[in-house]
């Protein structure tokens, strides 16, 4: 059984089919990249997987269990956790608090118990702080514990966001354009970092525009254009696929399709 199975996923906004009959699978231990020209529907797919949108048709199965129809917090509980294309950290909060927020749904004591000192709460909060430190070590931010999140340099903010997603104990991490806005050196480092995250999670779904990053870390690439899958395979297979080249560069032979990307 695949770790993640997306089957015939379709969503329409009015007359527009944003995601059209999309199917792909992810095995345990894989980095799967979802690529495609701007407007191909990549972020929509993430929003479908995380329950933010409900698809008109299709299934999203995590270890065999269908997640369609679940709310965003239920999906996180099942094990899908995400980062954002444009960083969405809690800007007025410390680095530590941002990670703690990522653990919000795992908290084992209720709102009522939170108001008094009690063993359950004390125990949990202690563990949470310890785990926060651990996560921050993994993403290399342990020295910035009490810094304000927005005072961090850009690359570190991305890592904090990934740390926040890890705090939810996901099975699958969904990274929406993690390399956006990074310089080549940062991208190089990020690639190694993402690959290393497979020690923490069972699988990673990556949306990325930077082909160098995608090609270097993906086990499998799914190419979308106009919401539909046009190709799927290893980096080498995808790179040589004529349909992919067309989607990115336009049709050979002087058609005006170039502008469609």
């Amino acid at each position: 059984m695949p770790l993640l199975e997306v089957k015939d996923l379709t969503i329409r906004f009015g007359g527009l089919v944003a995601v059209d009959n999309l199917s792909f699978t992810m095995e345990k231990g894989q980095v799967v990249a979802l690529i495609g020209p701007n407007g191909a529907g990549k972020t929509t797919v993430i929003n479908l997987l995380t329950g933010f949108y409900t698809p008109n048709e299709g299934e999203v199965r995590l270890n065999g269990e269908n997640l369609v129809g679940m709310s965003t917090d239920q999906v996180v509980e099942k094990g899908l956790s995400r980062t954002f294309q444009n960083i969405r950290l809690f800007s007025n909060m410390s680095v530590e608090d941002n990670i703690l927020i990522g653990m919000q749904h795992r908290i084992e004591y209720g709102a009522f118990l939170s108001l008094f000192p009690n063993s359950k709460k004390n125990h949990w909060e202690k563990e949470a702080k310890a785990e926060t430190l651990e996560i921050l070590k993994k993403v290399g931010l342990e020295d910035s514990l009490s810094e304000k999140s927005t005072s961090l340099p850009y690359g570190k903010q991305r890592k904090l966001e990934i740390g926040r997603a890890l705090a939810a104990h996901p099975k699958i991490l969904l990274l929406d354009e993690p390399a956006a806005g990074m310089n080549p050196a940062e991208k190089q480092e990020l690639s190694t970092f993402i690959r290393s995250l497979l020690n923490e999670v069972d699988g990673i779904l990556l949306i990325e525009h930077d082909m160098k990053v995608v090609m270097s870390i993906s086990d499998k690439i799914v190419v979308l254009n106009h919401g539909a899958k046009i190709c799927e395979g290893t980096p080498a297979e995808v790179q040589n696929n004529p349909e992919v080249i067309e989607a990115y560069l336009g049709k050979k032979g002087g058609h005006h399709d170039v502008a469609r990307g």
Binding site: T50, F52, D73, F84, R88, F90, I101, I107
Partner: protein, 295 residues
């Protein structure tokens, strides 16, 4: 000098009452950008619940009555959000609809209170009635001191709550980026419901305290204080909790000075004169930050 002090003490105790209710407005605004008009009615309803419980089931025990009232107010807040705000929010409709819905809730609660309680003024239980302390010439009643002390404790508690409590931490996250919280899969609905619970409990403390201060209750207390607490929120900067508190104190002290040195009736419009001035000169209030609309 003693007159000055007297006015100041009166201002601070009234300011405490404004501040507690104002926090409720500010908290919910900071998360939903919604002016929750039902807050003023919760202020009244809580006082009525206290009165009803005290004159029947829990007669004699102020502490027990108070605890039961707090629980009832907290539940009421959650229910208000659940019934009147959440469906509108989930449909993605404009906040204007939610505002109107909250005005509807306010009206319903006020009418319920009027129907069950009646429209006459009734005596309200107070604490240590007739006990006064002389603070450098300012005659301070015991209940005034209790109100000021309780408010300070609650404000400290709120600081702890927002900084170190899991719910408070969540509410802070919500107020900074509601959409991200939603996309991240935080239990947004429950947290928003709890923000109404917190706001309502503060309004309940405020409502009971105010009636104890007056030693009487009538159904007009809600709108009288509720509207002024709202003015205080705007003065301090809506959406900022410390703004609500400072705004509450400034407004109440200003009112007391106007009524002490000028006239009683002028004090009743001074809040709203200040409100209008703030809106003209610095619409974001004392602590409010200018919001940058992202396009």
């Amino acid at each position: 000098m003693s007159k000055f002090l007297q006015i100041l003490v009166n201002g601070i105790s009234l300011g405490s009452i404004y501040a507690l209710t104002a926090i409720g407005y500010s908290l919910i605004y900071s998360i939903l950008q919604l002016i929750n008009m039902s807050n003023a009615a919760v202020f009244l309803t809580s006082a009525v619940i206290f009165y009803a419980l005290y004159s029947s089931i829990t007669a004699g025990s102020v502490a027990l009555t108070f605890i039961l009232t707090l629980i009832a107010a907290g539940a009421l807040g959650y229910v208000i959000e659940f019934i009147a705000i959440r469906p509108i929010r989930e449909k993605g409709d404009s906040n204007t609809y939610a505002l109107i819905s909250s005005i509807g809730v306010k009206t319903i609660l006020e009418q319920l209170c009027q129907g069950t309680f009646g429209s006459e003024i009734k005596p309200f239980p107070t604490l240590l009635a007739g006990k006064y302390i002389n603070l450098a010439g300012a005659r301070t009643s015991a209940i005034q001191i209790i109100i000021i002390v309780v408010t300070l404790v609650i404000l400290l508690g709120m600081t702890w709550f927002t900084q170190h409590n899991r719910v408070g931490r969540g509410l802070r996250a919500l107020s900074q980026n509601l959409n991200a919280c939603h996309l991240m899969g935080m239990p947004v609905n429950t947290l928003i419901g709890l923000s109404f619970t917190v706001g309502s409990m503060l309004a309940a403390v405020s409502g009971v305290a105010y009636c104890m201060y007056l030693s009487s209750i009538s159904i007009s207390v809600g709108s009288a204080i509720g509207n002024k607490a709202f003015a205080a929120t705007v003065l301090g900067g809506i959406g900022e909790l410390k703004g609500a508190v400072i705004g509450g104190y400034i407004l109440a002290i200003a009112e007391n000075f106007v009524s002490g040195y000028w006239s009683m009736s002028a004090s009743n419009f001074i809040s709203f004169a200040i409100l209008i001035l703030v809106l003209i000169i610095k619409p974001t209030g004392i602590f409010g930050k200018k919001e940058q609309k992202k396009v």
